[in-house]
Amino acid sequence: MKLKAVIVLFLLLIAGGKALAVTLDDIQSDVLCTCGCGMILKSCECGTAAKLREEINQMISSGMTKEEIIAELQSTYGKEILANPPKEGVFAGLWYYPVVLISAGLIVLYVILKRRRSEWYADPDEIINEDYEDLELEH
C-alpha cells in the first residue's frame, strides 16, 4: 500500500513537471544563436538573438509544439542551429554511450560486490596518524 502511494506520488510529480505549455525558455535552451558566437540562444544577448526570439514567440503564439518549432528553425537555418544533434544515425551514439557505460559499470560492480573474501589491513581514517614507513606493506 505504502509502495503504491509512493509510486502514485512519483508519477504525479513527473506528470506535474511535464504538463506545461511550450515556452520561449523551452526552445531557446535547445538552439544556438545564429550570430556565430557558439552560445545557446538563451545565453546570447545580441541583436540576432533578439530577432530569433521574436520569431520563436510568433511560432509559440500560433500554437506550434516544441518539436514543430525546432523542425521549422532547422529547415530555415540548417541543422547547425541545433544545440544538440538529433537522436538518430551516427548521432544516436552520443546518447546511448552513457547508458552503455553505466550498464557496463554496474555489471562490474555486481561482480566485485559478490566476491567477499577480502582482508582488512587498517582504517584509512586512522592511518593518517601513523608513519606509513612503520606499516607492514606488501612488496
Binding site: G16, N84, I128, L137
Partner: protein, 651 residues
C-alpha cells in the same frame, strides 16, 4: 638570441641531464647519480624561474621587440595586468605550466624520502618537464624577437583584465601540474610494486584536487562576473576540460582509501591517476590548439602533433607498465559486505568516472561526427544536463550513504537507525518543495540535499557524544584535528552539497526577463522595482563606456544605484564587452545586463539567480575541507598526548 631563451635552453639541458642521471642511477643502483639528478632539478627550476622573471620584466618595461609581449600588452595596460598578461597566450601559459612542474619537483625532492619510489617518480616528472621545455625552446618560444621595436603593443583582451582571470590560470595550472606528480607517483608505485605510493601520494592528490577546485571556481566566477551572459558554466569544451581531471581525481581520492584498507584496487587506482593526467594533457591541448571550437580557446596553433604524441605516449607507457606488473596489480577482493563504506565508494567511483567519460565523449564528439559525416556537430548544454543531472542526484544520495555506512560491514538494524532521520528529512523535503510549487527536478534536488546533509549532521552529533566518552576532557578541536582526514572529507562534502543546491537553484528556479525601461518609469521585477534614472557616457584613452544608472528599490527602500554598461575598447580589434551589475542579497543575486541605451530608454536583461552565492560559498568550503585534511602530522602531534594517555587508561 634573447637571454630568457638561453635560460630556458639551460633548463632543457639540465632536465635532460637529470633524466639521464635518474635513469642510470636506478639502472646501475648508483646513489651518486641520483644525487646529481637531484641537483640538476634545482638548476632546471632556478633557470626556468629566471626565464619567467625575465618575461615578466619585459612586460613591465614594454619591451615590444618580444613578439609575445607585443601581442598581449600595450603601454596603457595597468601594471598588475602586465604581470598577468604573462599567461594570456599559449607560450606564456606553457611556461607557467613548466615552472609549476619544476616547483613541484623541487618540493617533492625536499619533502619526500629518498628511495627507489622517489627516484622513479622524479624520473617520470623529469620526462614530463622535458616535453614542455622542448616545446618552449622550439615551436612555443615566448622570447621570439620581432626584429624591430613597435611603438605600442596590441593590448590585452579586456575580458582578461579582471582579478578573476588573474587567479584562474595559476590556480588551475597548479592543479594541472600537480596531476603530473600524482601520475608519476602512481606509475612509480606500480613499477616498483610498492604500495607505499598511496600513502605518499595522498597529500599530493589532495593538494592537486584543492587547486583544481580553485581553478574551476575562479573560471566560473569569471564567466559569471565578466562575460556578461548571466551564467557560470556553459559546458564549453575548455570548461569541460578543467572538470574532467577534477572528476577522476575525486574518484581517486576515495579509491586510494580502499587500497589503504584492503590492498585492492591497484589497477583501478593507476588507471584513475592515468586518466587524470591524460585529461590534463587533453585540456591543455584543447585550449591551445583550437581543434574544437570554443569561446575560450587561444585559436589555431601548431601544437597538434606534439600533444597527440604526448597523449599516445602516456597511454602506451601506462599500458606497458600495467602489462609488465600484472602480477602485482592482480585483482583482489575488497568487500566484506554490500552495506559498507567500501561499497558506497565503488558506486561513487562509478558515477564520477561515468560523468567524466560522458563529458569527455560530448567534448570530442564534434570531431567524431566530422570524421564520419563531414559535419562538425555542436554539443550544447541540453545533452550534458540530460545525462549529468541524474548522475548528480545519485551522487548526492551516495554522499549521504557513504557517511551513514561504516567501514567493513553493518547490520540491518544499525543501518535502519542510521538512515531513519535522513529518510525523514528526504520526505520532509519532498512535501515542502511540492507544497511551495517547485518543479520536479528541484523537488528531487532539495530532498536529496536534505537527505545527505542530515547524514552528515547526525554523524557530527554522534561523533561528539562518542568522543566525549572515549577521550574525556580532550577538547573537540583536538579530536577533530586527530581525525583531520575524515573531517576534512566531511567538510568537503558539505561544500559539494552547497555547490549542488546552488547549481540546482540556478537551473530550476532562475527568473529572467528582457525589459525596456523608460526613463523615470518604475518597472517591477520579482520583489524589486527598477527605475532608469539617467544615461552615463564616458570616453577615456582606453575605452568608451555607455552606462545606465538604474535605481534598485525593494519594499519602498532604495537598495542602491546600479550601473550596467557597454564598454568599447580602443586597442586591438576594438572589442565590445558588457559590464554587468550584480546586486547580492545572500544567497541570491539580482543580475543586470545592459543591451542597448538611449536618452529615453534602456534595454536590459534582468535575472534573479536565487542560489548562486551558495556555489561560491560551497567552493570555499570544499577548499577548506581539503586544506584541513592536509594539515601535516608534525603540526598537531603534540596535541594528542592527552588522547594517548586516555586511550591507554581505557585499554
Amino acid at each position: 638570441m634573447d637571454i630568457g631563451y638561453i635560460f630556458l635552453f639551460i633548463a632543457f639541458i639540465s632536465t635532460l641531464y637529470s633524466t639521464a642521471a635518474y635513469y642510470f642511477g636506478i639502472k646501475e643502483k648508483r646513489a651518486s647519480y641520483l644525487k646529481n639528478g637531484e641537483k640538476a632539478i634545482y638548476l632546471s627550476a632556478a633557470t626556468t624561474l629566471v626565464s619567467s622573471a625575465l618575461l615578466v620584466y619585459y612586460f613591465l618595461t614594454d619591451n615590444f621587440r618580444i613578439e609575445y609581449v607585443a601581442y598581449h600588452s600595450n603601454i596603457a595596460l595597468p601594471a598588475a595586468y602586465k604581470i598577468t598578461a604573462f599567461w594570456a597566450g599559449s607560450e606564456g601559459s606553457l611556461l607557467l605550466w613548466t615552472i609549476l612542474i619544476m616547483g613541484y619537483a623541487v618540493a617533492y625532492v625536499r619533502m619526500e624520502k629518498k628511495d627507489l619510489l622517489s627516484a622513479y617518480t622524479l624520473l617520470i616528472v623529469n620526462i614530463i618537464a622535458l616535453f614542455f621545455l622542448s616545446l618552449l625552446i622550439s615551436i612555443q618560444n615566448p622570447f621570439r624577437d620581432l626584429g624591430f621595436m613597435p611603438s605600442d603593443g596590441a593590448g590585452l583582451n579586456p575580458l582578461l583584465q579582471t582579478p578573476e582571470m588573474a587567479a584562474h590560470p595559476p590556480t588551475l595550472f597548479l592543479g594541472y601540474a600537480g596531476s603530473a606528480i600524482v601520475y608519476a607517483l602512481a606509475l612509480a608505485g606500480v613499477m616498483t610494486a610498492n604500495d607505499t605510493w598511496v600513502y605518499r601520494g595522498r597529500k599530493w592528490i589532495v593538494f592537486t584536487w584543492i587547486w583544481l577546485t580553485q581553478g574551476i571556481f575562479w573560471g566560473a566566477l569569471w564567466a559569471y562576473d565578466v562575460l556578461g551572459w548571466g551564467g557560470y558554466w556553459a559546458w564549453d569544451p575548455v570548461e569541460n576540460s578543467s572538470l574532467l581531471p577534477w572528476l577522476t581525481l575525486s574518484a581517486l581520492m576515495h579509491s586510494v582509501m580502499i587500497q589503504e584498507a584492503r590492498r585492492g584496487m591497484k589497477l583501478w587506482n593507476i588507471i584513475l591517476a592515468f586518466m587524470t593526467f591524460e585529461f590534463v594533457i587533453l585540456g591543455t591541448y584543447i585550449t591551445r590548439s583550437g581543434v574544437i571550437s570554443s569561446v575560450h580557446a587561444f585559436g589555431q596553433s601548431n601544437l597538434t602533433p606534439p600533444f597527440t604524441f604526448m597523449l599516445f605516449a602516456v597511454f602506451a607507457i601506462t599500458l606497458y607498465i600495467i602489462y609488465e606488473r600484472k602480477d602485482y596489480i592482480k585483482s583482489k577482493d575488497i568487500i566484506e559486505a554490500a552495506a559498507s563504506k567500501e561499497a558506497t565508494f565503488l558506486f561513487n567511483n562509478l558515477i564520477l568516472v561515468t560523468s567524466a567519460l560522458t563529458v569527455f565523449w560530448g567534448t570530442i564528439f564534434p570531431l567524431i561526427s566530422e570524421g564520419i559525416t563531414g559535419y562538425k556537430v555542436t554539443i550544447g548544454p541540453p545533452f550534458y544536463n540530460t545525462v549529468i543531472t541524474p548522475l548528480a542526484f545519485f551522487l548526492i544520495i551516495l554522499l549521504g550513504l557513504c557517511i551513514a555506512f561504516p567501514w567493513r560491514r553493518t547490520s540491518g538494524k544499525e543501518l535502519l537507525k542510521r538512515l531513519r532521520l535522513p529518510a525523514a528529512a528526504f520526505v520532509a523535503g519532498l512535501v515542502y518543495s511540492i507544497a511551495v510549487g517547485h518543479r520536479f527536478e528541484m523537488v528531487i534536488a532539495i530532498s536529496s540535499f536534505l537527505f545527505a546533509i542530515t547524514t552528515h549532521l547526525q554523524q557530527y552529533i554522534w561523533d561528539t557524544a562518542s568522543f566525549r566518552e572515549q577521550y574525556g576532557n580532550l577538547s573537540l578541536i583536538k579530536i577533530v584535528l586527530r581525525r583531520r582526514r575524515r573531517y576534512g572529507g566531511y567538510t568537503a562534502h558539505l561544500g559539494l552539497l552547497l555547490v549542488f543546491i546552488g547549481i540546482a537553484g540556478g537551473i530550476y528556479a532562475q527568473e529572467y526577463e528582457n525589459v525596456r525601461l523608460q526613463i523615470h518609469q518604475p518597472a517591477n521585477f520579482g520583489e524589486y522595482t527598477l527605475i532608469y534614472s539617467a544615461p552615463d557616457y564616458e570616453d577615456t584613452p582606453l575605452k568608451t563606456t555607455w552606462a545606465a544608472k538604474i535605481e534598485i528599490w525593494k519594499d519602498g527602500r532604495l537598495l542602491g544605484v546600479a550601473r550596467p554598461a557597454i564598454e568599447q575598447y580602443k586597442a586591438g580589434n576594438g572589442e565590445q564587452i558588457r559590464k554587468v551589475y550584480i546586486h547580492t542579497e545572500f544567497p541570491k543575486d539580482l543580475y543586470l545586463i545592459l543591451n542597448g541605451i538611449d536618452e529615453n530608454s534602456a534595454l536590459l536583461t534582468v535575472k534573479i539567480e536565487p542560489t548562486v552565492n551558495l556555489i561560491w560559498l560551497g567552493s570555499w568550503v570544499l577548499t577548506a575541507g581539503g586544506v584541513f585534511a592536509l594539515i601535516p602530522r608534525r603540526f598537531v602531534r603534540g596535541l594528542f598526548e592527552g588522547a594517548k594517555k586516555k586511550e591507554e587508561v581505557v585499554s
